[in-house]
Symmetry: C2
Subunit: 137 residues, 2 copies
DNA sequence: TAAGTTAATGAGAATCGTTCGCATTTAGTG
DNA sequence: CACTAAATGCGAACGATTCTCATTAACTTA
């Protein structure tokens, strides 16, 4: 039950929080904006405010349930944390997003951080390109 | 002369553009926001508008003279393209930014893109951590 | 080098995603 | 079931960026 997940994260199990978490867990789309979440919930009959969506997503992020990605134009998209860490490769033409995991890169990053005297906490890697479908146009 | 650089980039050699390019080439700071550029130029006696700074930086980006980095909170910072490509490692406590180049990572990225059927055009890699100075606090 | 054409600029309004303030409602507790 | 703190809704506020449009400056050609 989601109630447990929320409690574990130190968050009260309120209606908006459960609805948002449930939506993310449906996993229809991996990467959603606050606006996406807001609209999807309105459509499914929920009545909540956009401000709440932002608040909740920010709390989820702080609780480690969700990762926020910063995109161009000040947009953020959120992604439920599940399974292993991964990075992203995205198409600059159609916006398609794929994911990948590469141990070699992970290791090199650790090494680089160490060399520079940093205690690595996180990283963000995006590869941009043109996907196979778009190469045909 | 900067005039040449601008012409080469297909841009008229106007006063604001030359001043902004000169400022970036001074290279006092590698990563500047539009606001930084605007203030610095005002202080050095130039009279230009923030809108122009944004316009010019965007044109520089399109011309490949400059790279724009998207940071948290919808902030962008710009960096003059000079020398070789590099990635960034930054301190989440003090905001310090270091740069690095890693051939292994570059190659892996090419390989991953190919595997996923993408024609890679660019990438962005940030390592986050706590720098040596901040580890002591 | 002066006139003409077009693109660039300044100033401020407008936009967009996001956050805030505050009155109201709800969840968890006893 | 009543109580208290925390969560929500609403709309206003915000900050970065972009737009509009009248004015000005930069290349072109004579």
């Amino acid at each position: 039950m989601e109630t447990q997940d929320l409690k574990k994260a130190g968050l009260k199990a309120t209606v908006p929080r459960m609805k948002i978490l449930a939506l993310l867990e449906e996993n229809k789309v991996r990467h959603v904006s606050a606006e996406d979440v807001y609209k999807a919930l309105l459509e499914s009959g929920e009545d909540l405010s956009l401000a709440t969506v932002y608040r909740v997503l920010t709390q989820f992020e702080q609780a480690g349930l969700v990762t926020r990605h910063h995109f161009e134009g000040g947009h953020s998209v959120f992604e439920l944390n599940q399974g292993e860490h991964h990075d992203h490769i995205l198409c600059v033409k159609c916006g398609r997003v794929d994911e990948f995991v590469d141990k070699v890169i992970e290791e090199r990053q650790q090494k680089i951080a160490a060399e520079k005297g940093y205690n690595m906490t996180d990283h963000s890697l995006y590869i941009f390109g043109i996907c196979s479908a778009c190469q045909k146009d």
